[in-house]
């Protein structure tokens, strides 16, 4: 699932794939608020291509783990990846589009609060009532929580029915991912009218967000499937203790190593993101552009989801040679075949033609932003083997042009298929961000 291309532009090597340090994040929001240019790395902040809305005033240190909620794009996409994911798809159960609009409005307000480390309400709860906020995030830092919302194709049209008068607004690219060779899809793990992606450096903070949003949705939308993911953040020895990039408020997952996380097969996953995670890369590959249709999606993107079980026991009985041949990369260094370093350009001629990296790369012209997480679902009750793998997530500007052909190439010929099973699939339109007073999805639903 890695797809390196040569770095573009004239940026200093290494900065683009480094997760922002807490200090940098603080400076970045200061940049947005004050319009100052603090330095190259900061002014080119990858996770916010345009000046963000002013961040709430807070003490130094407090802002370090808070990702601004409001902005031109939704957070949780170009945001440096957090350690934990809770991902939920929901079915809309109401028949009134006004209910849906009101839900998005409430969700927006709630997400804006929770991402800033606040409870759902400042009011004390009545003793006779169930507490409004479920409470398990009390005392926990905001943990860089981001909440990202999206719309599935079935929201616009379900079994040929225009449920909410939105059918004419469905983006052409927003359809179910077509069936692929080797698909073993379980309908319970596919589709959904709405998606909520919560990412945070604390699993409990991420779950708290989804749990409260789902509770809020009762009677309007009901949860369809839920996945939980995690990501091990590699640390460079020495950076954990007092390295120049650390701050006093630093937490355990404040990775500044710039190393690519590894998937459960032990291989680096996401190496190719470096080319996408630049302002230009995001504009070109991720954000729906100012001239793209439909207009309501401009500043948005599309989220592709594949739930991929990885047959760990089988993989673990596979020789290192075969493992590396399957990926087309060396396991320890992450370097592509015929190269020394993880980020060296791939030479397709050196890679086995059916290796994962070779097929994922294609002709090198198409990029996507990978943001997947590993998952462990326990055991397969029939076999006692691990139910574990990858919750593959990618963001792209045009799934028809970018993701679908890539997926087809992989599903048709990838050596990795021998070790994996795709059991879930979904595609969502992720609308643009919003400003205080607006709501996520208002470009689609406002006035309905």
């Amino acid at each position: 699932m890695s797809n390196p291309t040569p770095p573009t532009g004239t940026n200093p090597p290494g900065w683009w794939n480094r997760r922002l340090t807490r200090r940098e994040m603080l400076r970045t929001s200061a940049t947005g608020a004050l319009g100052l240019v603090v330095g190259a790395a900061v002014s080119r902040a990858l996770w916010h291509p345009s000046p963000p809305a002013p961040a709430p005033v807070m003490g130094a240190g407090a802002a370090l783990d808070r990702v601004p909620f409001y902005g031109d794009n939704q957070a949780g996409i170009a945001t440096p990846q957090q350690a934990h994911l809770v991902l939920a798809a929901l079915d809309v159960t109401t028949e009134r589009v006004s209910d849906l609009r009101d839900l998005l409005r409430t969700w927006t307000d709630q997400a804006a609060r929770m991402t800033q480390g606040l409870q759902l309400t400042d009011d004390a709860s009545l003793a006779a009532l169930p507490p409004q906020d479920t409470g398990e995030a009390v005392g926990l830092p905001a943990s860089r929580l981001t909440v990202t919302f999206g719309f599935g194709p079935s929201l616009f049209e379900l079994h040929g029915t225009d449920r909410f008068g939105l059918a004419s607004k469905r983006p052409k690219a927003l359809t179910d991912i077509p069936s692929m060779p080797r698909d073993a899809l379980d309908p319970m793990w596919c589709g959904g009218d709405l998606v909520v992606q919560a990412c945070a450096d604390d699993a409990q903070v991420a779950f708290h967000a989804v749990r409260n949003l789902v509770r809020t949705a009762a009677g309007v939308a009901a949860i369809r499937w839920l996945q939980r993911g995690f990501l091990g953040m590699p640390q460079v020895p020495g950076t954990m203790s007092g390295g120049g990039q650390r701050t006093a408020a630093g937490g355990a997952s404040d990775s500044t190593s710039g190393q690519t996380p590894r998937n459960l097969f032990g291989f680096k996953d996401g190496t190719a993101n470096r080319a996408v995670l630049t302002e230009a890369g995001l504009r070109q590959h991720v954000w729906v552009g100012p001239n793209d249709a439909p207009a309501w999606m401009r500043g948005g993107t599309y989220l592709a989801i594949r739930q991929i079980r990885m047959h760990l026991e089988v993989w673990d009985r596979t020789s290192l040679t075969e493992q590396e041949r399957t990926f087309g990369r060396h396991k320890a260094s992450g370097a592509p075949f015929g190269r020394q370093d993880e980020f060296d350009p791939v030479d397709p001629a050196k890679l086995p033609p059916d290796s994962h990296v070779r097929l994922a790369r294609g002709d090198g012209s198409v990029q996507i932003l990978r943001r997947g997480y590993s998952y462990i679902g326990g055991l397969d009750p029939k076999t006692g083997l691990y139910d574990a793998g990858l919750c593959f997530l990618s963001f792209q500007r045009d799934p028809e042009r970018q993701f679908i052909p890539l997926l087809r190439r992989l599903q048709e010929g990838d050596l990795l298929n021998e070790y994996t099973t795709h059991f879930g699939s979904a595609l969502f339109a992720i609308p643009p961000g919003t400003r205080p007073g607006g709501f996520i999805g208002d470009t689609l639903l406002f006035g309905l």
Binding site: L126, A128, L129, P130, M188, R215, A218, G219, A222
Partner: protein
């Protein structure tokens, strides 16, 4: 009379199916507001339906004005009764019209302060008006309604005197709890009778008949489960499932259920049947003897949906007969009934919440409708995951706003 668009959400088919007027009477409570109200020409017609209780209260006359209105109406009820004795006709209609005009002149002051008594008066005034205007008035029914209306007015007058016009719902809450208590007593008495019919069949060794009568008894228990659970061992004695209690202590409905459906025999069950009768009789006398707190009514409504959402939708409760949907529907009926008791208070405090709860209850009925079969429901074994998921979602959707009704407890 601002709620003429509301429709009953206690299903009449339920009432007919169970053959008990209790549920039907409850339905009347809701339908009462749907009656015609020709009094809209009165000098002070109802304010906007969405006006808040607070706004009403601040503009409302003092408790003394309510007393004055009540006394006037009581005289008008007497006039109505005389007209009835004289054979009805034009004077009957005129008396009904006067009643409605007087009520319209002060009902807005009543509704926010005495929601229970308000609903009480409405319950009888509306059918009385409709009946008086019928082409052939039913003298007997109208006579009863007039007496019931007089009683309701007396209660309102008393509440106005006691409450001194306070907006506090305490008296209203207590009355709601009393009403709910009356209903649970009716249910447990019906349980006693239905259980006896069931155990008679068991004692007679009539397996087929016993199987047919089993769900009829279960319904009454499941409707009042949260109250029944408050008496220590009585709930396990009556309702324990296999494995819930020491096997040597296991008795009650589910012990008989297992024998009927698994072994198809009533052998050795006479003792169990006798004890079930005795346990249910004890339950009935204990429920009658106790009072119910307002908090229990609210909590009970939610608890019944929680029961439905946990042990019923999973098929654990009726693991031999697979009649889980019968229990589940009974839990929902019981929940509705408990909500019904507090509904006027909720409506007065938060009309939006009340509308949401009622629409979610209706949606829940619709979610269950596909699984109805004859007088009952399809067996649990016929349900697929998608079916239980759909029912479960509808329960969740109702339970969330229902839990918010506890705000009336302050």
């Amino acid at each position: 009379m601002t709620d003429s668009s509301r429709t009953p959400f206690i299903s009449r088919t339920h009432a007919r199916r169970s053959g008990r007027f209790a549920v039907m009477a409850a339905a009347l409570l809701i339908t009462a507001g749907c009656g015609t109200s020709p009094a809209s020409s009165g000098p002070s017609t109802p304010a906007a339906p969405n006006s808040t209780p607070a706004a009403n209260a601040s503009a409302a006359p003092a408790g003394a004005d309510i007393s004055r209105g009540v006394n006037e109406m009581l005289q008008q009820v007497q006039a109505f009764q005389s007209a009835l004795q004289q054979g009805g006709g034009g004077s009957l209609k005129a008396a009904a019209k006067q009643l409605n005009e007087t009520w319209a002149s002060f009902e807005d002051a009543v509704r926010p302060r005495f929601p229970v008594q308000y609903a009480d008066v409405e319950k009888f005034l509306s059918p009385l008006t409709a009946g008086a205007n019928a082409s052939v008035p039913d003298a007997k029914t109208l006579g009863q309604l007039a007496q019931q209306l007089a009683d309701a007015l007396q209660r309102l007058g008393q509440a106005a005197k006691d409450g001194g016009g306070q907006t506090s719902g305490n008296a209203a809450l207590d009355q709601a709890a009393d009403r709910y208590h009356d209903w649970t007593v009716e249910q447990v008495q019906a349980l006693q009778r239905a259980t006896k019919r069931f155990t008679d069949a068991v004692r007679q060794g009539d397996v087929a008949k016993a199987k047919a009568l089993y769900p009829q008894a279960r319904v009454y228990y499941e409707r009042i489960e949260p109250i029944a659970e408050t008496f220590g061992d009585l709930d396990p004695d009556i309702d324990a499932r296999e494995g819930d209690v020491d096997p040597t202590q296991w008795r009650g409905f589910h012990r008989i259920e297992k024998a009927l459906w698994q072994t198809g025999s009533t052998e050795g069950l006479t003792d169990v049947a006798n004890r079930l009768d005795a346990d249910v009789a004890q339950l009935a006398s204990q429920i009658q003897a106790r009072t119910i707190q307002p908090g229990e009514v609210v909590a009970g409504a939610v608890e019944l949906l929680n029961e439905a959402a946990t042990t019923k939708i999973t098929g654990e409760e009726e693991r031999y007969s697979h009649l889980d949907l019968v229990d589940l529907a009974a839990n929902i009926e019981g929940s509705k009934q408990a909500y019904e008791a507090i509904e006027p208070i909720v409506r007065a405090q938060d009309a939006g919440l009340d509308a949401t709860v009622q629409s979610r209850f209706r949606a829940l009925d619709e979610a269950l409708a596909p699984y109805r079969s004859g007088d009952g429901f399809v067996t649990y074994t016929k349900l697929k995951d998608a079916d239980t998921r759909a029912i479960s979602r509808a329960i969740q959707a109702a339970a969330e706003p229902l839990a918010q009704a506890a705000k009336i407890l302050g």
